[in-house]
Structure formats: structure tokens, C-alpha cells
């Protein structure tokens, strides 16, 4: 390359840069939008949940803008989200977070789907001191005080199946048995989320003195659970717990029915997003599902109204029933909207401080963060599949119906 070409190239590049800078400045002045960034899984193994997450963000942003936007220090701003597809891979997620912050100039980040992705992105937002409100990374390790800029609106994963253990203890007591006699069989996918779910169960089981008779780890590309379930059939436990996202829930229900397991109580995570009640009603009869949210909960907020109204609006907009992944994602946007208004500034540091002082009621749950960024105001719900629908059976405060025990599957 001759010096002349280099000089010409440099001039063009400089010109382009100036133009771009001018465009950005103009954009900020006229539209007055607050730009949030998010890397979500639109392809890859989390594509379903990634879409739920994006839809949740979109509906909240749309609703906030419809209601006039966010007022920050007397000026009104519309919200907007810049998305990238992280392809369900953590490395890509971290790259995209870097790109959002350092190239696209995003100053506030919404979370990705799954603990694995969140784990990859959190160090990036920490490095750039960018407030990061996430709704889909439930691993416990995020909330041990190592991240100052990370906040999670959802219950951590160790709570997903804890209530199933509590329910099993209650049932044992009701039938005049010591909870100590309850025997648990469990299988978990080998990923950060499911291993946390396991931790919670182990803690709860220890508290009641229950015995864990099977403790299997499922490979991430799990396609068949026959070996584990044969063991379950042999040891006849009182409670079977499975955590392996949608694949695990579907396989558990399908293969337990096929092998005619008669375990009186079975619980899994992700069965609502796996649609087990809709597609395998008979086989899933009586299965318990740990869930972050349900439309029958009596929470409400000033944007969407009640949880039920949110669910209606969501279904009208996206043509499928609102899963909890969407509701919690919407809640993350609400946290930002609330914090911008209270901070009275768009300075990321001030916004972070405002977020940490959040005390907000949303249609998803009450939200209040402790010093580690964990939402301490929220509880999990437990569904039971009954006649092809999900009914809340725990906690008792919101129970729609009483737990059916033992479950009566139709083989």
C-alpha cells in the first residue's frame, strides 16, 4: 500500500467517524431514547426461552412507551432495546456484551437467558460498571457479593424444587409418618442451573432427615432416561425430582409413563415451558412443577395491572400463553424504568444506586434487592398438573387447589 493510499484511506475513515459521531449526537438530542442492550438466545439450544425473554422485554418496553415513557429529571424518554443473538453460547454472549457496551454505547444491560450466559456476561458488565438487571440467570453464585452491578429479579435456582421436598414432608406427616422415612430419587442435568436446584433439594432433604437413594447427573445432550428410570423402578422412592430444562421434563413424564413407574410424587423444573400438560395430559397427571410465576398470583403494578391482565395482553400480542420466563423478563425492564425515574439521572452509577434501593411491586413479584443484588421479596410457586391444566398447590397462600397425593397417572 503506498503512503498516498494510506493517507486517503485515513481521511475517509476519519470523515466517516465524524459523520457517525454527529449522527449519534443528533439521535440523542432529538428522539430522547434510553437505549438498553441485551444478548438473547434466538438460535441454539435456548432458542425457545430466548424468544420468551425477548418477548418479555419487548412487551414491557412497548407498554412503558405507550404510557408516555420514562420521566428522568423532568425530561421524558422512550425506551429501546438493542438485541443480538448469542446463539446460546456463553463465549458469544460475553463478546456481544462487550460489543453492546464499547461499540454500540449501551449503558444499561438486560440479562441473557440461562445461568451459563449470565455467568459469561456478568464479568463484562462489572468491568465496564454497567448496571445489569437480569431475569433468567438463577444460579446462586451470582449473588454472593462478587458483582456490584448485577441484579436478579427471579428466585435463585436452589428454590425451584425445594417446595416439592416440603410438600413431601407435609404429606408424610398427614399420613402419620415421620418425614425422615421419605426416600428421594433425583436426576439433574450437569449444568450450573440444575446443580443449584440440586443443592437446594439436598439442603431441604437434610433439614427433614430424608434419605436420597438415587442421585444421577444427566448429560447435557440427554435423549433417553431409561437407565436412570429403571433404577427408580427398582428402589421405589417416595419422591422423584428431575431438573433438565424442557428435555428433562418431557423425558421424565414420557418415560415414567412408558415404564409404568408408580412414584407417588414427581416434580420437575421447566414443565410449563415444555408444555407437558398440553401435549401429554394423561401421562403428566399429578406431576409437580416448580415455577417462578403464575398468572393467578395476586400481584399487580401500574404498568400492566394484575398478573392475569399481563398474561392476557401478552397472549394477544404474541399468540401464545405467557410463560414465567416472559413475565420475569418484563419485570427486569420495569426495574430499569422505575430506577431511571428515581435516579433523576442517566448516569450509570446513579442508576445502579437507584436499582439497589428498588422497592417495587410488579405483576411478576415484589422486588427488593439485598446487598448482593438478589431479590429477597419473592417466592416460588409449585404447580400440579391436574386434568391437563396447571394448578397452583404451593405455597398455600395462593394455592388454587389441594395437592393430589398419590398422583394417579393413566398408563
Amino acid at each position: 500500500m503506498s503512503t498516498d493510499t494510506i493517507r486517503r484511506f485515513a481521511a475517509v475513515a476519519a470523515g466517516a467517524f465524524l459523520l457517525a459521531a454527529a449522527a449519534v449526537a443528533a439521535g440523542e438530542g432529538e428522539d430522547a431514547t434510553i437505549l438498553l442492550g441485551a444478548a438473547v438466545s434466538l438460535t441454539g439450544k435456548y432458542a425457545v426461552n430466548g424468544k420468551n425473554t425477548k418477548d418479555g422485554y419487548d412487551i414491557a418496553v412497548k407498554r412503558i412507551n405507550e404510557m408516555g415513557g420514562v420521566k428522568v429529571a423532568g425530561k421524558t424518554y422512550k425506551m429501546k432495546v438493542q438485541y443480538y443473538d448469542d446463539e446460546s453460547t456463553p463465549a458469544r454472549g460475553a463478546q456481544l456484551a462487550e460489543r453492546l457496551i464499547s461499540q454500540d454505547g449501551v449503558k444499561y444491560l438486560l440479562g441473557a437467558y440461562s445461568s451459563g450466559l449470565t455467568k459469561a456476561i456478568a464479568p463484562v458488565t462489572e468491568k465496564y460498571k454497567v448496571p445489569h438487571v437480569e431475569a433468567n440467570g438463577a444460579a446462586r453464585e451470582f449473588f454472593t457479593g462478587q458483582y456490584r452491578y448485577l441484579f436478579g429479579v427471579l428466585s435463585t435456582s436452589d428454590y425451584y424444587l425445594r417446595d416439592a421436598v416440603t410438600l413431601a414432608a407435609e404429606v408424610a406427616r398427614e399420613h402419620g409418618k415421620d418425614p425422615k422415612t421419605v426416600r428421594i430419587a433425583m436426576a439433574y442435568e450437569n449444568d450450573p442451573f440444575s446443580l443449584d436446584v440440586r443443592e437446594g433439594v439436598v439442603e431441604a432433604a437434610k433439614r427433614y432427615g430424608m434419605k436420597i437413594v438415587i442421585d444421577d447427573k444427566l448429560p447435557p445432550e440427554i435423549n433417553d432416561m431409561a437407565a436412570t428410570l429403571t433404577k427408580v423402578k427398582a428402589v421405589r422412592p417416595d419422591l422423584l425430582l428431575v431438573s433438565g430444562h424442557e428435555k428433562g421434563a418431557t423425558l421424565m413424564v414420557r418415560q415414567a409413563a412408558e415404564m409404568q413407574l408408580d412414584v407417588p410424587m414427581m416434580a420437575s423444573t421447566h414443565c410449563d415451558s415444555a408444555k407437558i400438560a398440553e401435549t401429554m395430559a394423561q401421562k403428566a397427571e399429578g406431576v409437580l412443577c416448580g415455577s417462578q410465576w403464575d398468572r393467578h398470583l395476586s400481584y399487580k403494578d401500574r404498568w400492566f395491572g394484575t398478573a392475569d391482565q399481563y398474561a392476557d395482553l401478552f397472549e394477544k400480542e404474541f399468540k401464545y400463553p405467557a410463560p414465567y420466563q416472559a413475565a420475569e423478563s418484563s419485570a427486569a425492564v420495569l426495574v430499569f424504568a422505575d430506577a431511571f425515574a428515581r435516579a433523576g439521572s442517566l448516569d450509570p452509577e446513579k442508576v445502579r444506586d437507584a436499582i439497589s434501593k428498588t422497592d417495587l411491586m410488579t405483576m411478576f413479584a415484589p422486588i427488593k434487592f439485598d446487598s448482593t443484588g438478589k431479590n429477597i421479596a419473592k417466592q416460588m410457586v409449585m404447580y400440579q398438573v391436574l386434568n391437563g391444566t396447571y394448578k397452583v398447590v404451593a405455597p398455600t397462600k395462593w394455592a388454587e387447589t389441594k395437592l393430589v397425593w398419590p398422583r394417579k397417572p393413566q398408563h
Binding site: D215, N223, K233
Partner: protein
């Protein structure tokens, strides 16, 4: 160890594991047969094998959703995938036939990503199932055999037998074998090797399709299901060798059984690890036994 004792205490469990393993193996055998065929005839390792299985699964699922019994999905998936396989050959595969192995692996790997993402866009990433409604057979009071697995087993055996007959008796079969032995000589003798190869790849796709339809009825389908099926086919073919139809069936079922027992005794997390370790041992052992034979011949 406790699991091992359980097996001795309840011998029927072994029967359950054995049956499950063998029946599972049969489903894998179909995809492996196709892979062996393509590898033998064209020298191509098709990394998109699992994706063809996945597409077959969606055929059964779509039929099921349309209210038609998903068992019809087996022949239909085979037919549709045959056409797709032909198309893939004409558009991509024929370009890599005489190229080195690396090129063919790269090309089919690209194909596998393309098919995955297309399935993701068209069908969504939801985990799907197709219910055969065949119920469960009960043997000896406690051993359960899922009806569809028996069907899968029968289909795999029948397909294997049909393939064997086809290769032995039909003109196209003879041409395929001739091409496998020496493509250039076959061409000199007037065999249209291009057509033969298209047939081979289409047949492979059809076998995968049938296998996929059975997978959807037995387990689950989703766009990212492919890789384990590709890897499993690959292993079966490595153990059985190319052009050995009964060997492929036996290896597939053997692996299925080994995998199930490993999952039971060692726990599900060591299932895959055990099978791969087994593969290493088999390869090492085979190498030694072949070396001994060679020495003997010399």
C-alpha cells in the same frame, strides 16, 4: 456398588436393561447403516447424519399433529428424506466426492448447521413428541416394553434385510457395490457412478428419516438433537466396519445394551464416557488382533 447389588437382587432388572438397550440400539442401527453405506461408497463421513434423523422426527411429529397416526411417518419420512437426500447430493455432496476427508467433513458439518437452524426457524426450538398410542407390554410381571420400541426393532431389522437384499440382488445394488469396490473401474465398465452415488446418499437419508420418525415416537425431537445420533452412528460404523450390514445391527444393539448397563451401574453421567472408553478398548484390541493375523500370514 449398591447399584450392582440391586442388579443381583432383582435379576429382572437386567432383563429390562437388556431389552431397552437392544431395542434402542435398533433405532441407531438404521442411521448407522446409512452412514456405513455413504462412507463405503463415496468415502464421505456424513456429519449431518443426526440432522437427517431430526428431520425424519419432525415428519412423524407433523403427521401426529395433523391427527394422522405417526407410524405412517416411518415410510413417509423415508420417502421425503429420500428426495431431500437426492437434492442434497445434486447440490452439495457431488462436489466433495473425490475430495479429501477434511473437505467432506467440513461441508457436511456446514450442512448440519444449516439444517439445524432451518429446523429452528421453521418448527421452533420446542421439545416435541409424537404419541404412537401403542401402549406398554408387560413381561414377567415387571419388565415393561414400550410398544413403539418393538416396532422400531422390527423396522430396523426389516430395513437391514431389505438393504442387504437390495445390495445383493438388484442392478442398482450391484452397481453400488461395484462403485464401492473401485469407482474408477466401475465407471470404465459403464456404471453411471454419479447416479449410483446419488442413489446411495438418498438411501442413506431415507434410512435416517425412518429412524428419526421412530425417535420422535420413542423419545423427543428438537432441532439440536442431531449430534449424539451422528456420533453414535460413527461409533457403530467404526466398530462394525464398512459394508457389513449384520455387523452394524449387532454393534448398534451391543452399544445400546452397554450404554444402558453403564447408565444403571455408574450413573447417567458416565453413560457416554463408558461407551467411548469401550470404543477405545475395542479399537486397540482390534489393532492387536489384526497385527497378530498379519504376522501369522507372513
Amino acid at each position: 456398588m449398591e447399584n450392582l447389588r440391586l442388579l443381583f437382587d432383582a435379576p429382572l432388572l437386567s432383563v429390562q436393561l437388556l431389552l431397552d438397550g437392544a431395542l434402542i440400539g435398533a433405532v441407531f442401527a438404521l442411521a448407522a447403516l446409512g452412514m456405513a453405506l455413504v462412507w463405503g461408497v463415496m468415502g464421505i463421513i456424513n456429519v449431518a447424519q443426526g440432522e437427517l434423523v431430526m428431520l425424519g422426527g419432525y415428519v412423524a411429529f407433523l403427521l401426529y399433529r395433523a391427527g394422522i397416526h405417526p407410524l405412517f411417518g416411518v415410510p413417509l419420512a423415508a420417502a421425503l428424506l429420500f428426495v431431500l437426500g437426492w437434492g442434497l447430493y445434486r447440490s452439495v455432496i457431488f462436489r466433495i466426492v473425490d475430495k479429501d476427508l477434511f473437505t467432506s467433513i467440513l461441508a457436511t458439518f456446514g450442512l448440519s448447521i444449516l439444517l439445524q437452524q432451518l429446523a429452528n426457524v421453521v418448527f421452533g426450538a420446542d421439545v416435541r413428541t409424537a404419541e404412537s398410542g401403542l401402549g406398554t407390554l408387560l413381561l414377567f410381571g415387571s419388565v415393561t416394553v414400550y410398544g413403539i420400541k418393538v416396532v422400531a426393532f422390527a423396522v430396523a431389522l426389516l430395513t437391514g434385510a431389505a438393504l442387504l437384499l437390495f445390495l445383493k440382488k438388484s442392478r442398482m445394488g450391484q452397481a453400488i457395490r461395484a462403485t464401492a469396490q473401485n469407482a474408477r473401474a466401475a465407471r470404465v465398465m459403464g456404471v453411471d457412478t454419479d447416479r449410483v452415488q446419488a442413489w446411495t446418499f438418498a438411501l442413506n437419508a431415507a434410512a435416517c428419516g425412518a429412524s428419526g420418525a421412530l425417535v420422535a415416537m420413542t423419545w423427543i425431537v428438537h432441532p439440536y438433537l442431531g449430534l449424539p445420533y451422528t456420533v453414535r452412528s460413527f461409533m457403530i460404523v467404526i466398530i462394525a466396519g464398512l459394508g457389513n450390514v449384520p455387523g452394524v445391527l449387532a454393534a448398534a444393539m451391543g452399544l445400546g445394551v452397554a450404554e444402558n448397563f453403564a447408565g444403571f451401574i455408574l450413573g447417567a453421567e458416565y453413560q457416554a464416557a463408558f461407551v467411548f472408553t469401550l470404543l477405545v478398548f475395542i479399537l486397540v484390541w482390534r489393532r492387536f488382533s489384526l497385527a497378530r493375523q498379519r504376522r501369522y500370514l507372513a
